[in-house]
């Protein structure tokens, strides 16, 4: 079982992930239309690129935009969740051992304590995000079961990883579940709302180009995000 999930199934997962994400990006760019979007992308590419980079840059910085500053509690939850989610998997000791075995290289590994901390940070942030979803009427009204499903898909590898590492109950069971949930996560990225993994950058770049080219970027220093 272990050989299957870390062998053929893992490769299938990687293929779906990389091809899916690439397809999404190509589909997005091909679907942009200067006349329908009302943005002259090509003739003013330098203004567009400047606008796109500004639009992405400020939103990647915690408290870097008016909106992040307006919702400080959610901003902390958001960044804790996403930083933990995106960076932890690369620097887990066990993952790097696997990388070394299979591919002959590995990345820097964090201590087990740090890994536990990062994992718990993701889980605590997720709990706060769920609580916020339920507590605030303005969020509750737009929340659907699908939102909980994608959150569960994203968090599952962390829960199972933590249980496996601390060998709670049956280690092998949690290990296999961990690998499967990780693979499900990767597959879900291009196929579900988790496509915002790439969609965030595409969408932010587009609105940045819109502001950079048409909505004032050519007559000002740029929008104060």
């Amino acid at each position: 079982m272990y050989a299957f999930v870390t062998g053929p199934l893992a490769w299938l997962t990687f293929i779906i992930f990389f091809c899916g994400v690439t397809y999404r990006a190509i589909w997005y760019f091909r679907g942009l239309n200067w006349q329908l979007d009302r943005v002259a992308y090509k003739p003013h590419m330098s203004y567009g690129i400047k606008g796109a980079l500004r639009s992405i840059f400020f939103w990647l910085i915690p408290f870097g935009t008016h909106s992040w500053r307006f919702y400080p509690f959610f901003t902390i939850c958001f960044f804790a969740f996403h930083i933990g989610l995106l960076f932890t998997p690369f620097f887990i000791y066990g993952h790097n051992v696997l990388l070394q075995e299979r591919f002959g290289f590995s990345l820097w590994s964090m201590s087990d304590g740090a890994a536990d901390f990062m994992t718990c940070m993701v889980l605590v942030a997720a709990i706060f995000i769920i609580m916020r979803r339920n507590a605030l009427p303005e969020v509750r009204i737009i929340t659907t079961p699908y939102d909980y499903l994608v959150l569960a898909i994203a968090v599952a590898p962390f829960v199972t990883g933590l249980l496996a590492r601390h060998q709670v109950g049956n280690y092998n069971f949690w290990l296999i579940t961990h690998i499967l949930s990780g693979e499900l996560f990767l597959v879900a990225i291009p196929l579900t709302k988790l496509s915002h993994f790439i969609g965030f950058f595409l969408s932010r770049a587009q609105i940045g180009m819109d502001y950079g080219i048409k909505r004032g970027g050519m007559k000002s220093k740029g929008l104060s995000w």
């Binding site: 760019f29 943005v39 639009s55 959610f74 303005e138 965030f200």
Partner: protein, 461 residues
């Protein structure tokens, strides 16, 4: 009754059609007919398939339902944080549903979409600045308005407005003759006080071609005279076109993209025909948005630019003050606290925030910013055509509370609003709430403050 006599899917292209609509006071029959209007679901879905591309699809797909757009919307704030006013909810429950159901919706649903698209969103685009993904629900509601229009679900006044553009190439029934007569009349009216004052019509190769909002010749012709006086004071070589003088676009508010194209093309033709160096647009926000920002795309101009460089009135004023073409008498500067209404259309959506502040630096001694301000300012409450729609007057008036409170917080009694929609909304909020404020365009203030060189003064009696 699939198609009403007044409320139908047809565009208004003849004076007879237009008159029939105008004769239907307050759109009583029009809205009654709307209750029986069929939805052509196939056509609706076909339009969406052709025009709903990756940008909008991605926005609808990846919205994380985080609610960060909620507090960005003045309607949400003015309606005591009613969750149904959250921008994300509003677009998901309208355009989102239209897409999900592939256009298979009924009359009642389309009326809900119409009511939401025009009475719960002014397309101010503020929410797009507060969404981590940059999802701009103002853009999506503008798109949704176009879908509604194509199915005949459009507020009565805007059906009329778009018809006006189709027939008169102006938002009101001002003919070329009316316009030229008004120019001559205003020049004569003010010539005694301003010797040599002219409103030159159709002069070739001028430095500036000036274009206006049809309400000016129709209802406030003195605004045109004021523009002429300021150009006269500044010594500008300027002209107005006899045709293609109307910058506004109720068609844009209506979602009638065909009429939008017709309208801006007349202005672009005037620019080319008269071969002016640049164009200046009057103190109107949506006029600038329509003709300068969106217009080139309606007209199929691939560079997204107007045929000649185009400037909003505030840009010209700032330049005139900066270069000394117009000098302000220091004694006549505004002494009382004064605030500035940043228009969504030329501040947030055209980046002219610093220009506005530069002007205030020249003319005001105690300029106070609203909070929030610049591109983050709230809509006046009457944008997107909402000021003019009787059906939604109550919703509009509720929305005005946010602007009222912003103004009250500044402690100012004078609000400068160089935008027709903002000007109207602020006038109406004073009528509604009686907070004791005054409001003004820039032109009358500047004329009062400007130093008049001796050679431009009337001869002493």
């Amino acid at each position: 009754m699939p198609e009403g006599k007044l409320c139908n899917k047809q565009t208004v292209d003849t004076e007879e059609q237009l008159q029939a609509l105008l004769d239907d006071k307050s759109g009583k029959q029009y809205y009654e007919e709307m209750n029986y209007l069929d939805v052509d679901s196939d056509a609706l879905w076909a339009t969406m398939q052709k025009t709903l591309k990756s940008r909008l699809k991605t926005w609808l797909k990846i919205c994380a339902h985080c609610g960060m757009c909620a507090d960005s919307c003045f309607f949400y704030l003015a309606n005591k944080k009613d969750p149904e006013q959250v921008p994300s909810y509003k677009i998901i429950s309208t355009l989102g549903e239209l897409v999900k159901r592939k256009g298979q919706v009924d009359n009642a649903f389309m009326q809900t979409v119409m009511d939401t698209a025009w009475s719960k969103c002014t397309c101010c685009n503020r929410c797009g600045m507060y969404c981590p993904f940059g999802i701009d629900m103002g853009i999506m509601f503008s798109y949704t308005r176009g879908l509604c229009f194509s199915q005949g679900f459009v507020p009565w006044e805007l059906k009329i407005g778009s018809g006006m553009h189709r027939i008169y190439r102006a938002q009101m029934n001002v003919t070329t003759e009316d316009w030229v007569d008004t120019c001559e009349w205003m020049a004569e009216e003010y010539e005694e006080d301003w010797p040599g004052l002219k409103i030159p019509v159709d002069v070739q190769n001028a430095d500036i071609i000036y274009t206006v909002n049809a309400r000016e010749p129709k209802h406030y012709p003195e605004d045109l005279a004021e523009a002429a006086i300021l150009f006269h004071l500044a010594g500008e070589n300027w002209t107005v076109p006899s045709e293609g003088w109307e910058e506004t676009s109720l068609a844009m508010f209506a979602g009638d993209w065909g009429a939008c194209k017709m309208q801006v093309e007349t202005v672009y033709d005037a620019m080319t025909r008269l071969n002016a160096k640049r164009m200046v647009v009057t103190e109107c926000g949506h006029a600038y948005r329509a003709t300068v920002l969106e217009g080139p795309y309606w007209a199929g101009r691939k560079d997204g630019q107007t045929p000649i460089p185009t400037f909003h009135y505030v840009e010209w004023v700032a330049e005139a003050l900066r270069t000394g073409k117009i000098k302000i008498d220091p004694d006549k500067k505004i002494k009382e606290p004064v605030t500035y209404q940043d228009s969504c259309n030329y501040i947030r959506n055209a980046g002219l925030k610093d220009v506005a502040r530069e002007i205030m630096g020249y003319i005001a001694e105690d300029f106070r910013e609203m909070k929030p301000n610049k591109e983050h300012n709230f809509c006046c409450g009457g944008g997107g055509g909402l000021n003019g729609i009787g059906r939604y007057r109550e919703q509009r008036n509720i929305g005005l509370k946010v602007k009222r409170d912003q103004i009250l917080e500044t402690g100012c009694k004078l609000v400068i609003a160089p935008c027709h929609n903002c000007w109207d909304a602020i006038r109406d909020l004073e009528e509604e709430f009686r907070i004791g404020i005054r409001w003004s365009f820039l032109k009358p203030l500047l004329i009062h403050m400007a130093v008049v060189p001796d050679h431009l003064k009337p001869p002493e009696e």
